[in-house]
């Protein structure tokens, strides 16, 4: 098992290198280039060439990539062209908001999706199953933007149950410990601050959770149906095991294998969905940073955010692989 973990960790390195190369190459290939974006109205061909020379952009691409890699490895991601602050500082400040939102959404999707998918499969063809299938179809099809505004208009503006935007009410702002608003409130025993943070979190988290929830429900349902028809479940039943044992040990454990892969894949989509959700609910996380970086052509920031996204994606899928190895003994040998 330890060897498996080490080997998988080693495999992550080339993947990350490749992704960094892609990010690098893609940004270099954008029309205009960083220099003209930076200079904006003041851009003249001479000034652009001058800046390119200063920034090292006139060097061969491979040399540029080598330097870029060297700086990244020492934690130097450059300075935002919008705010003039180090990109890493900006990201550090915005990260907790996005992590909080994504984790909440993922928890909703997983904790609701797996039981729902299981129930739908075990009552196949019943009213619950059919309404679940229809629900997931709608869930996947509704644009995040639209759903976000809809929820906001109804539950926040119309009914007033939830705050329409932001992470915390100013008056209730919890003392900053970790940057995670809900957690901070708990840690400092400012219960009302925690509760306020949860209320703020609810609508964005539901918005962001919808698509992964729908996907997890569907894949769980399909996987459970598949496993329920398998020979070893027939064996389990032929042993007269209690229904709970058959369900848990024999059906669910095997059915979760494909589900865990899909959860890993969903994290990538979650990051994309976070950008839209944060926009709707004025959340002020990485999504906001990214949106601004794109519209204002802030290349250093864009570059850092894309790399961060790639890193998270690779690490999450590494975790998925490890969980796979824990559930499925056959994986460890290969």
């Amino acid at each position: 098992m330890l060897r498996f973990v080490l080997r998988r960790l080693l495999q992550v390195i080339p993947t990350l290198l490749l992704l960094s190369l892609l990010v690098f190459a893609w940004l270099r290939s954008l029309p205009g280039g960083p220099a003209s974006a930076f200079l904006g109205d003041r851009a003249t061909p001479e000034r652009i060439a001058e800046l390119n020379r200063v920034l090292g952009l006139d060097q061969p691409v491979l040399v540029q990539y080598g330097r870029f890699l060297g700086r990244v490895l020492t934690g130097d991601f450059g300075v935002s062209t919008i705010t003039g602050q180090p990109v890493l500082t900006e990201i550090g400040r915005a990260l907790p908001a996005t992590v909080e939102l994504s984790v909440a959404a993922l928890l909703i999707a997983v904790l609701l999706g797996i039981p729902l998918g299981y129930l739908a499969a075990s009552k196949r063809g019943g009213p619950l199953d059919i309404s679940t299938i229809i629900g997931t179809l709608v869930g996947v099809a509704v644009p995040v933007f639209f759903l976000g505004y809809l929820l906001k208009a109804f539950f926040a503006v119309e009914l007033g149950w939830f705050p329409p935007s932001g992470r915390q009410a100013i008056a209730l702002d919890a003392t900053d410990v970790t940057g995670f608003a809900v957690l901070d409130g708990l840690l400092t025993r400012e219960w009302d601050a925690s509760w306020d943070a949860i209320l703020h979190l609810t609508l964005p988290a539901i918005t962001l959770a919808t698509i992964p929830l729908a996907v997890i429900v569907r894949i769980t349902r399909a996987s459970v149906l598949d496993v329920m028809g398998s020979d070893f479940v027939r064996t389990a039943n032929s042993k007269g095991l209690a229904p709970g044992t058959v369900r848990g040990r024999h059906v669910l454990r095997n059915a979760l294998l494909p589900v865990s892969t899909v959860i890993g894949l969903q994290v990538g989509l979650l990051l994309a969905g976070a950008v839209l959700t944060e926009k709707v609910f004025v959340w002020g996380g990485l999504g906001t940073l990214l949106a601004d970086a794109i519209t204002l052509k802030d290349y250093p920031r864009l570059q850092a955010l894309l790399l961060l996204g790639a890193l998270v994606y690779v690490l999450v899928n590494l975790l998925v692989d490890l969980s796979y190895a824990i559930i499925d003994p056959r994986v460890r040998l290969t």
Partner: protein, 335 residues
């Protein structure tokens, strides 16, 4: 503990009467997979259920175990164990009996074992369920069982996963699981079909030993008359969901009366066959079957068919301890 061999006059352990299983699909006519099967199994008896692919062997055994899905399947008739009707038993009661009073070994030992659960746990779970053993006791019992079915180094192997064992070993594990609670009836559905020929013989030998040792009755399901020859006391020959002939093993092999049984016997290769003697396959296949409702299903493939075979259903008649469903059987002196 070796149970004494019961006398043949004992009350039947299992009594199957007029068992019918129909698969119904919307927009399609029902498939009668089992079409009125009746047979008895005495305590400790080894009974064979023989027939070619698709004749309803597996469906019969699954119906007895009540393992068929409820949706789209209609089961009628009667299956009694110790005089108690199994077909109408509540699901909870049936679960108590399965694994404890009757159990099953399946054809493919790889797919029949859970790939992500250690084999030890797959044995102990049945012991803990039916015998109420605690963890440690069940583990010890599992080691003993693995040892008994011939798994080398059982103490280490309890933590192995199915993919770490060979096919033969896996089937040994299946047998250990099925016999863990010493059921009085074991149904083995083609337990050797997925294995190498040399391993087949070992597994059959083990099954034979184990049922003798635990006193369990055995229903041996196979398409291979060679398997039956070394094992079964009584043999039922199944065709198109009905039993067409039943006799004691040596009588069936010595003087097969039904043309289908006759054909089956001539189609198996024998070491003692005279040189130049031809193997004869039965012509056609099950797709040629007629419905039993007003004919003999075997008629289109039968070399001895007469006019009545396509007009009237041949009834099963019992003469001198042999059950036969044929208008024009092979004469008793033919072999």
């Amino acid at each position: 503990m070796t149970a004494p061999r019961p006398t043949p006059t004992a009350e039947p352990l299992l009594q199957v009467r007029d068992l019918r299983v129909a698969f119904r699909r919307r927009g399609e006519p029902d498939t009668l997979a089992v079409d009125g099967v009746s047979f008895d199994v005495a305590p400790g008896q080894v009974v064979g259920l023989v027939g070619e692919s698709g004749c309803g062997k597996s469906v019969t055994s699954m119906a007895i175990m009540r393992l068929l899905p409820r949706r789209g399947v209609q089961i009628t008739g009667s299956v009694k164990m110790d005089g108690e009707e199994l077909l109408t038993l509540s699901e909870a009661k049936m679960r108590e009996r399965r694994g404890r009073d009757l159990s099953m070994v399946f054809q493919d030992p790889l797919s029949s074992l859970n790939p992500v659960v250690p084999i030890g746990l797959q044995i102990t779970e049945v012991l803990r369920r039916h015998r109420g053993m605690d963890k440690e006791k069940a583990r010890q019992a599992a080691v003993d069982l693995l040892d008994r079915v011939g798994i080398p180094d059982p103490r280490r192997r309890v933590t192995a996963y199915p993919h770490q064992l060979s096919g033969g070993m896996r089937q040994r594990v299946m047998i250990a699981i099925a016999l863990a609670c010493r059921p009085r009836l074991l149904i083995a559905d083609e337990p050797t079909t997925a294995l190498d020929v040399t391993i087949q013989a070992q597994i059959l030998e083990l099954l034979k030993e184990m049922v003798a040792e635990t006193g369990a009755a055995l229903i041996m399901i196979t398409h291979d008359l060679g398997v039956v020859a070394g094992l079964c006391e009584t043999v039922n020959v199944l065709y198109g969901g009905r039993i067409v002939e039943r006799a004691q093993r040596h009588r069936l092999f010595g003087t097969p009366r039904h043309p289908y049984t006759h054909g089956l016997l001539r189609s198996i290769p024998r070491l003692d066959a005279a040189a130049g003697e031809q193997l004869e396959a039965i012509p056609g296949s099950v797709v040629d079957n007629l419905p039993w409702a007003h004919a003999c299903a075997f008629q289109p493939r039968c070399p001895r068919s007469v006019d009545r075979c396509v007009e009237v259903t041949p009834e099963a008649e019992n003469t001198g301890g042999r059950l036969l469903r044929c208008f024009n059987p092979v004469p008793a002196s033919a072999e």
